[in-house]
Amino acid sequence: MSQVPTSWFLLLSAALFVLGVAGFLFRRNIVTVFMSIELMLNAVNLSFIAFTYQLNRVDGHQVDGHLYAFFVMVVAAAEAAVGLAIILTVYRNRGTLNIDEVDSMKN
């Protein structure tokens, strides 16, 4: 009884991912959208780790999934930095944080 089926981790990851997509699609505040992106990345990290556990091999590739998740984190950090800088610029130029009003690429 002290075991957790691996598929539950994957299901949790899927649920978190879908929640992230939902936040991305349905929220209007840019910052909230950005945070939903971070949520998606976290969900993916969880699935990486779960698979690493599942595919536990002993030929030197044991921790590949951990390293992928590690790099995802690094990239997410960099992306967060740049993205927030962009948000600052957009706020300075448009005065709004509503993503629907940033539509000068229309047609």
């Binding site: 691996t6 899927a14 699609l25 910052v31 536990n56 930095a81 800088a85």
Partner: protein, 166 residues
């Protein structure tokens, strides 16, 4: 024991994630996101990824989310105005999401064999030694590349966010 731990932290993660999406004020979403990350770190521990759990807390929750909170404060972002969104989003959004969830769920069930299970302590390879070993031998090139990536990100952030020189 493991099952109970999993259930607790999974529930916290889900609730916090729903909170992220649902809350009107960005700062509440940010704090909920921190909660998600924390509970995910616990789940990593359950899966034997000690190094990564620590990294999650230190880097993700500790640095990235702090940055988020800084920016939210800086921008003085208020509550979100409840206006209507794009028609296409409302039309397609919910069905698409449901479909996505269904498919991922089915995939998840099918990919791993049914008897696969997680037991705390069964995976011993997630130590800092093992991760560091792989990082500096097999994954040396991506490591160096990401350092350049971070450099570019710093420059980009600085250039974008500075005040205009007059």
């Amino acid at each position: 024991m493991d099952l109970i731990l999993f259930l607790i932290f999974a529930t916290i993660a889900l609730v916090c994630a729903i909170n992220v999406v649902v809350q009107k004020h960005p700062i509440s979403s940010a704090v909920s996101l921190i909660g998600v990350m924390g509970s995910l770190a616990m789940l990593y521990l359950l899966l034997g990824a000690e190094f990564l759990a620590a990294a999650q807390v230190i880097v993700y929750a500790g640095a990235v989310m702090v940055l988020f909170v800084f920016v939210i404060m800086l921008l003085n972002a208020g509550k979100e105005s409840p206006q209507g969104g794009s028609f296409m989003v409302q039309l397609l959004g919910a069905p698409v999401l449901l479909g996505l969830l269904l498919m991922l769920a089915v995939l998840a069930r099918h990919i791993v064999p049914p008897e696969a299970a997680v037991r705390f302590g069964a995976f011993q390879g997630g130590t800092a030694r093992a991760v560091g070993n792989a990082l500096f031998t097999t994954y040396l090139l991506p490591f160096e590349a990401t350092s350049i990536l971070i450099l570019i990100a710093i420059i980009g952030a600085v250039v974008l966010a500075r005040k205009e020189m007059d």
